[in-house]
């Protein structure tokens, strides 16, 4: 469940309308031609949480419906991409740089 909300960048309290609007927004940016993987993730997320019944179903049956665990976990990882943090120049310059 969490993975689906993260994929769409929504809170768990999002309404059906918010979920649908976010879905439509995202598939316009991530089309099958430009980013097939992301498109698939977004669509999967939408189908899983698009209405109350779907959400309840996902919460109960995810364990059984996971046919490929590795793929499911990687989907979660892709969904859990960290959010960018707003940093100013001084913080940027002070931050330790990778070697």
């Amino acid at each position: 469940m969490l993975a689906h909300y993260l994929t769409l960048g929504l809170e768990e309290s999002a309404t059906d309308e918010q979920i649908r609007n976010r879905y439509l927004e995202r598939i316009k940016i991530h089309t099958p031609e430009t980013d097939a993987q992301r498109f698939q993730d977004i669509t999967q997320a939408y189908e899983a949480i698009k209405n109350r019944r779907a959400r309840i179903y996902s919460r109960i049956f995810t364990g059984r419906n996971t046919s490929d665990m590795e793929a499911a976990l990687l989907y979660l990882v892709r969904a859990g991409r960290p959010k960018p943090k707003l940093v100013g120049l001084q913080e940027l310059l002070r931050a330790p740089k990778p070697a």
Binding site: L6, V77, G80, L89
Partner: protein
């Protein structure tokens, strides 16, 4: 030491070039001592000291660097003698207040230095001493862009990169603050999720801009730059490593990794990520990679006690082993997952529906016997009958959530042989009919039910309702037509031809691709029965009955060859003397029409010929037995099989076996084997071998089967497995078992258990009346194939009790907790042979003898 100063100077120069500044300084000082007025040596010393100072500062040796700095300054040549490199050395080594005057002097003689300007701009980022810039002449490009620089820096420090970029719009490419503009662009692109744009901008920051050039060197920025993110990106390798730890049972490592990954994925609430990960690895428990106890250990280590209990209840429910109890347990815990009452109702409904579906699919309904009243109540079960119980569960699901469409769909397809179960199903389907008022599906489901009850009028009313709801739905039309055909047949037999006429006209109007031939058959029957007073579709009234040949010709005329042949075959199938209008003469006339058409079958492709010989069995609203089409066509066209391709012949061969045409089937196989290609050559050999075994023309032996199967390529193995299963219906005993399981070693075994003798599906495996008095024969025979279980002597049931108790001890279950015994029972019951024996024992054991068994034994046998 005695070398001349020029030589020492050269040595000093090469040591400097090699980076050996300390030694170079010593050599150059010596050289200077020998030639104190040599300005070249002084300049060299200055450079070497400056480089040494830079080196010390880079190492963090600030005090030492400050000491060297004094020497650097003491040897600083006049500005006019300074090269740009010397200037850069001074500026890099000196604080801003010292560097700027040197640069100011330099500019006035040599003009601006872009590298020096970069150094100054870079210093101002962290130490904005704008006042110091007054020392610079107006020819300094930095001074020209000073206002823009100050504004932009303010926005950059506030993280308002777009605003900073806008402020720097007028900055040219050659400006000393152009690299800052690139940084602003890179950051604006980063926040705008334009990674390509960001990388392009970063690549334009020159190396000479000291601080910012670090960003350019950072590979795969920004993933490797943690300050830019809330949390961190989890790498794919971490997932692979976690899965590996789980597969190899390295639990402690796995727990640690799950915690780390969850924290990275969702810092505000890592527990949500933990639950998600645990759900995603549940399949490891289902497939046995992870033991349930291990999964429980994981859940208890990672979740709260309450959450771990809910997780495990959900796991057991999804694993669906002791499905009744585990469903009831999970239902009782759902309120902790779904606090909202209406969500809880929906969730409960979905759980019940799923459980009922699983029980039905896996034929586990009989597991309900022995359940507690509490469990039955949770599941909505009041009946003692398994079939009715499933319907009650589904009705409860519907009651909890009347919008649960899957519950209705399940209800429509659950088995219902008793009056009670039909009644209950009808109640639920009527609810569906009311609730989904635009949907034809409940109408179709109810029509099927009414046909089962022989309530034809109600069935037809429902079919009419379906047509009203979905007049263009092909499936609905087929249902309607089949219902009409059924009514037509009834009314033809009752000679109610005026009703037949009405229904026939409706059927003809509705008929489609699959239904033309059966409708045409009824047209022919009608025309044969009626005297011409009831023309179809308002046609001309005839004064006498038509000749059957002209009737058939009229009915067939609009049809294609395939449909004509199908119609004729259907007519031939029903035509027997005394049935309806058929007599010997009419049957002969029908045959006279049929044979020329049969001769034209070669005009059809192989796949269509197959469809004629082996028509579809399922036809809504009820299943019909297959008519012997194959015999009908073979009688009229004996060489018809020659027209079939190998890929179309298998279902035909099976239909021949089903029709008892075993010899003809064997003959056809032999004919085809001469020319068949892979994989059909082996397949036909397989079929031939099965037929020889069925007809007892060969000894029962695994070897010939295994010889064939071992020659088959892997990609065709599934084809053989499927064919073997289909052929098992024609076999009995060990051959049946061997074909069902695709395991031909069973042909050689002496075991008499149900699996090995192919009697596993039989309801009455054991006939108590056939039980011999001694009793030893029964249990030894049963346990024979198991090997590991001993058998006793004396009273058969008492000795069986002793055997069961011994089993309990051997499994180490004496005194074990209920959960463990249930788990071991599940494992035991996965072995079909053991399951059959124990279930038989459970059935035979009278109630008064049950207390003779220990607690553990009772739990093993009766749950």
């Amino acid at each position: 030491m005695n070398a001349p100063s020029a030589q020492l100077m050269e040595k000093g120069r090469s040591l400097t070039a090699a980076g050996n500044y300390r030694e170079a300084i010593d050599i150059l000082k010596l050289a200077l001592k020998k030639d104190e007025t040599n300005t070249e040596i002084k300049t060299l010393l200055f450079r070497t000291y400056a480089l040494r100072e830079t080196q010390l500062r880079q190492k963090g040796m600030v005090k030492e660097a400050d000491v060297i700095h004094a020497h650097t300054l003491s040897f600083r040549p006049d500005v006019q003698a300074l090269s740009e490199n010397d200037l850069i050395l001074i500026m890099k080594a000196s604080p801003l207040q010292e560097a700027l005057p040197s640069y100011a002097e330099y500019i006035s003689s040599a003009g601006p230095s872009s590298e020096a300007e970069h150094i100054i701009a870079s210093r101002l980022l962290t130490d904005p001493r704008w006042d110091l810039l007054d020392a610079l002449p107006d020819t300094s490009p930095l001074k020209r862009d000073l206002c823009v620089f100050r504004d932009a820096l303010k926005w950059m420090n506030e993280a308002r990169w777009k605003k900073a970029l806008a402020a720097m719009r007028s900055v040219s490419r050659t400006s000393p603050i152009a690299p800052l503009k690139m940084l602003c662009r890179a950051m604006a692109c980063f926040y705008g999720k334009d990674e390509d744009g960001m990388n392009r901008a970063l690549s334009m920051i020159p190396e000479s801009f000291p601080i910012l050039s670090v960003f350019r060197r950072v590979e795969r920025l920004p993933q490797n730059f943690p300050v830019l993110w809330e949390g961190r990106q989890v790498a794919e390798d971490e997932i692979h490593s976690l899965l590996s730890d789980l597969k190899t049972q390295r639990l402690k490592a796995a727990i640690g990794k799950i915690k780390q990954i969850s924290q990275a994925l969702f810092p505000p609430a890592p527990q949500a990520a933990v639950r998600q990960i645990l759900q995603m690895i549940m399949p490891m428990g289902f497939s046995g990679i992870l033991d349930e106890d291990v999964l429980q250990e994981l859940a208890e280590a990672l979740l709260s006690e309450a959450d771990a209990a809910v997780f495990m209840a959900q796991y057991y429910f999804l694993a669906a082993e002791d499905i009744f109890e585990e469903t009831a347990d999970y239902l009782n815990m759902l309120d902790s997952e779904f606090a909202d009452p209406s969500d809880l109702r929906i969730a409960s409904s979905l759980v019940l529906t799923d459980a009922a579906g699983q029980i039905s699919k896996r034929h586990m309904a009989d597991d309900m016997y022995g359940l507690s009243v509490r469990t039955l109540k949770s599941l909505g079960i009041a009946s003692k009958d398994a079939e009715t119980a499933l319907i009650e569960m589904t009705l409860k699901a519907i009651e909890l959530d009347p919008e649960n469409r899957s519950a209705y769909d399940l209800l429509a397809n659950l088995p219902r042989s008793s009056r009670k179960s039909k009644q209950l199903a009808e109640q639920g389907l009527l609810r569906m009919y009311e609730r989904f008022s635009d949907d034809p599906e409940p109408c179709l489901a109810l029509s099927r039910l009414y046909y089962e009850k022989n309530a034809f009028r109600q069935a037809e009313t429902m079919l009419e309702a379906a047509m009203k709801r979905a007049p263009y739905d092909e499936r609905v039309r087929e249902y309607r037509i089949t219902g009409l055909l059924h009514a037509i047949e009834r009314n033809l037999q009752r000679k109610k031809l005026h009703i037949v006429k009405q229904d026939l006209e409706k059927a003809v109007k509705l008929s489609g691709k699959n239904t033309k031939p059966p409708v045409a058959v009824k047209q022919v029957r009608f025309e044969m029965e009626q005297t011409g007073q009831l023309p179809l579709f308002g046609g001309e009234i005839q004064t006498e009955k038509k000749d059957i040949r002209s009737i058939i010709a009229t009915v067939l005329s609009p049809m294609l060859l395939f449909d004509r042949l199908k119609t004729l075959a259907l007519l031939a199938a029903e035509a027997r003397p005394g049935y309806g209008p058929w007599d010997t003469a009419k049957i002969r006339q029908l045959d006279a029409v049929f044979r020329p058409y049969a001769a034209r079958m070669k005009e059809l492709p192989s796949s269509q010929i197959r469809r004629l010989l082996v028509p579809e069995e399922d036809r809504p609203p009820y299943r019909m037995k297959p008519k012997p089409m194959i015999s009908i066509f073979l009688d009229r066209q004996p060489k018809i099989l020659n027209l079939l391709l190998d890929e179309d012949v298998l279902p035909v061969l099976e239909a021949m076996l089903a029709s008892g045409l075993t010899k003809a089937c064997a003959k056809e196989i032999r004919r085809r084997q001469k020319t068949a290609k892979k994989p059909f050559d082996h397949l036909l050999a397989f079929y031939s071998l099965v037929i020889r075994h069925i007809t007892d023309k060969t000894d029962r032996n695994a070897e010939p089967f295994e010889t064939i199967v071992n020659q088959v390529e892997d990609r065709y193995r599934e084809l053989f497995r499927a064919a073997s299963r289909r052929l098992s219906v024609f076999a009995e005993g060990r051959l049946k078992a061997a074909l069902e399981h695709f395991n031909f070693k069973l042909l050689n075994t002496g075991c008499t258990c149900p699996m090995c003798t192919g009697r596993a599906g039989e309801a009455e495996f054991f006939d108590p009346d056939g039980f011999d008095e001694n009793g030893e024969a029964f249990f030894p025979n049963i346990f024979d194939g198991l090997g590991e279980l001993p058998w006793g002597e004396g009273n058969p049931l008492k000795s069986a009790i002793s055997d069961i108790e011994q089993l309990v001890d051997e499994m180490g279950l004496r005194g074990a907790p209920e959960k463990i015994i249930r788990k071991r029972r599940r494992e035991l019951y996965n072995n079909f042979q053991i399951r059959m024996v124990l279930e038989m024992f459970a059935d035979l054991m009278p109630d008064e003898m049950k207390p003779l068994l220990s607690r553990e034994a009772r739990m093993l046998v009766w749950v």
